[in-house]
C-alpha cells in the first residue's frame, strides 16, 4: 500500500472538513460530523497496519528471494543474498516494504539476463507475486465505484 494509515486518516479528515462540511446545513448533522473528526484525529496516532498480513508477505518474499539468489549467477545472486541479510529487524510492515524493494532490484537483474539463465529465479519470484497478489485481493471489499461516481 502506498498510503500509511496516518496519511489516509489525514486525507479523510481533510475531505470531511473541506468538501463535506460546507455542504452540510442541518445542525445535528454538522455536530455529528465534528464528532467524527474528533474521533479520527484521536485515532490517527493509535493505529497501525495489521502485522499478520505484513508477516505473511515478508516470509513469502524472503523464501522467494532466497531461491532466486541461489539460482542467479554472480554477481547478481550474491548481491541479492547480501541485500536479504542486511534487512534490519523492524516492524513487519517496514520489513515487507524493504523486501518489495529487493524484489524490484531482482527484476532489474533479470532484465539484463538471457531468458534461460534467469528462468529458475523468475519462477521463484513469480510464485511469490502470484500468491501475494491473491492475498492482497482477498482482503479487499466490494467497490462502491458506481455510488462514488454518481454521488
Amino acid at each position: 500500500m502506498q498510503l500509511t494509515v496516518a496519511m489516509l486518516l489525514d486525507g479523510v479528515m481533510r475531505t470531511l472538513r473541506e468538501a463535506v462540511l460546507p455542504a452540510v446545513g442541518e445542525r445535528f448533522a454538522r455536530g455529528q460530523l465534528f464528532a467524527v473528526l474528533d474521533v479520527l484525529q484521536n485515532l490517527r496516532d493509535r493505529v497501525e497496519p495489521k502485522a499478520e498480513l505484513a508477516e505473511v508477505e515478508a516470509a513469502s518474499a524472503t523464501a522467494a528471494l532466497e531461491r532466486a539468489a541461489q539460482a542467479l549467477p554472480a554477481p547478481d545472486g550474491p548481491e541479492l543474498a547480501r541485500a536479504l541479510a542486511e534487512i534490519p529487524a523492524g516492524p513487519p510492515a517496514a520489513r515487507a516494504a524493504a523486501l518489495r524493494a529487493i524484489l524490484v532490484r531482482a527484476y532489474e537483474m533479470l532484465d539484463g539476463l538471457p531468458d534461460e539463465r534467469g528462468a529458475a529465479a523468475r519462477s521463484a519470484l513469480a510464485e511469490h507475486l502470484a500468491a501475494q497478489t491473491m492475498r492482497d485481493v482477498a482482503v479487499l471489499k466490494p467497490s462502491l465505484l458506481e455510488e462514488i461516481s454518481k454521488g
Binding site: 486525507g11 532489474e108 533479470l110 507475486l129 502470484a130 458506481e146 461516481s149
Partner: protein
C-alpha cells in the same frame, strides 16, 4: 471561486465571444461529479439576438489544481477538438479556449454539450453490465466504427502534426512506454514488484510499426456519450481527449478492449467480445491487428492505469487534493497487479 462568481465571469466571457448577441444569460451551472481529471461544469445559455432567444447547452473544462493526468495543458486537446469540430466523428464541437487566469483563475475551454449520458464501467446490481443486449448490438458497432473512423483521420491535413509524429519503427511504443514510466517516476512512490516485472518485459518487447494515426488515448466505456430513445441506444459523443496523441492505433484498440473497462462482463467496454471488437475494427480500417503488438499495448494499458493511479495517490499524499477518490486507488492497485499477472502469465503460479 464560488459558483455565483463563476457564473458572472462566465457570462462576461461569453458576451465577448458571442459579440453579436444582445444579451447572454448563463443558467443551470453545475459541477460534474463524474470526472476524475479536469474540472467539468455543465451549463445552459440563453442568447438573445434580433428579438429571439436561442438556448444553447455547453460543457466547460477547466485545469484542476491537482489530478490524475497532471501536469495539465488543455491546449493540445482543445486544438484537436477544435480541428475535429466539423468532422463527422461524434466529438463535441469546441469553439473556445481561454488561457488568461484573470477569467476563471485557470485555463479552460468550452464545448457544445451533446445529448446523452455517460455509462460507467461498473457491474450493475444484478451482475450484468451497463447495457442491455439490444443496446450492445447498436452501440458496439457505433463504438468500433467511430474508432476506425478516428484512425483514418488525416491528421496532417487537419494540422495536427503539432502532436508530434513519433516516426517509424519502435518509436511510437517507446514514446508511450517512456511517457508512463516518467509519470511513475515522478510520483516518487515505491515501485511494486508486479509493476517492475511488467516494465522490464515492456522495455524488452517494444513492437515496431510504420502505421501512425491519431490516437485518442482514453477511448473506452466511461468516455462514451450514449443517447437512448425509443429507437435504441446510439453513440452520441466521444469525450475526454486529454491523452490524445499520434501513435500506434492498436494502442486505442488494446485500451478499449482492456479488462479494465469490462463493467463486470466479458465484453470489451461492456459492448462486444474483445476478439469481435478487434476483428470488426480490422475490417473497418483495413489494418492487420498484429497479435504481438496488441499484447504489448494490453500490458501497457494496465501499466498506464497504474501510473494514473500513482499520480492521483501522490497528489493525495501531498495534500494537494481533498478528493478522497484519489485515496481509493491505493486499495484498487492489487486488482491491477492481478491483471498484470494474468497478462504476463505469472498468475499461473498461484
Amino acid at each position: 471561486m464560488d459558483d455565483a462568481t463563476l457564473r458572472e465571469r462566465l457570462e462576461e466571457f461569453l458576451r465577448g465571444r458571442l459579440a453579436d448577441a444582445a444579451s447572454v444569460r448563463v443558467t443551470g451551472l453545475e459541477r460534474s461529479t463524474e470526472g476524475f481529471s479536469a474540472e467539468t461544469f455543465t451549463f445552459d445559455v440563453d442568447v438573445a439576438r434580433n428579438g429571439t432567444v436561442e438556448k444553447r447547452a455547453f460543457v466547460l473544462k477547466r485545469e484542476p489544481l491537482a489530478g490524475l493526468l497532471e501536469p495539465y495543458d488543455l491546449e493540445p486537446e482543445f486544438r484537436v477538438l477544435h480541428a475535429l469540430s466539423a468532422h463527422p466523428l461524434p466529438s463535441p464541437p469546441t469553439p473556445w479556449l481561454e488561457r488568461d487566469p484573470a477569467v476563471l483563475e485557470r485555463s479552460f475551454y468550452v464545448m457544445d454539450r451533446l445529448p446523452g449520458d455517460v455509462p460507467i464501467p461498473v457491474a450493475g446490481p444484478d451482475g450484468c453490465g451497463p447495457f442491455t443486449e439490444a443496446e450492445r448490438a447498436n452501440l458496439g458497432v457505433d463504438v468500433v466504427d467511430a474508432l476506425a473512423q478516428l484512425h483514418t483521420v488525416d491528421w496532417r491535413r487537419l494540422g495536427l502534426g503539432f502532436l508530434g509524429d513519433p516516426g517509424p519503427g519502435r518509436a511510437a511504443a517507446a514514446r508511450e512506454l517512456e511517457r508512463w514510466e516518467d509519470r511513475i517516476r515522478r510520483s516518487e512512490l515505491p515501485l511494486d514488484p508486479a509493476l517492475a516485472e511488467a516494465l522490464g518485459w515492456l522495455r524488452g518487447h517494444l513492437p515496431a510499426t510504420n502505421d501512425i494515426t491519431l490516437v485518442h488515448g482514453d477511448y473506452r466505456l466511461g468516455n462514451f456519450l450514449v443517447a437512448r430513445n425509443a429507437a435504441g441506444a446510439r453513440l452520441s459523443g466521444i469525450l475526454d481527449w486529454e491523452l490524445v496523441h499520434l501513435g500506434d492505433p492498436l494502442e486505442d484498440v488494446a485500451w478499449c478492449t482492456s479488462e479494465l473497462w469490462r463493467g463486470g462482463t466479458a465484453f470489451a467496454s461492456g459492448l462486444m467480445l474483445p476478439e469481435e471488437f478487434v476483428e470488426r475494427w480490422a475490417r473497418a480500417t483495413g489494418r492487420e491487428p498484429d497479435a504481438a503488438r496488441l499484447h504489448f499495448y494490453r500490458v501497457l494499458a494496465i501499466v498506464k492505469m497504474i501510473a494514473i493511479m500513482l499520480t492521483g495517490l501522490r497528489a493525495f499524499r501531498d495534500g494537494r487534493t481533498a478528493d478522497l477518490r484519489m485515496a481509493i486507488f491505493d486499495h484498487q492497485l492489487p486488482y491491477l497487479h492481478l491483471l498484470l499477472g494474468m497478462l504476463r502469465g505469472w498468475m499461473g503460479g498461484a
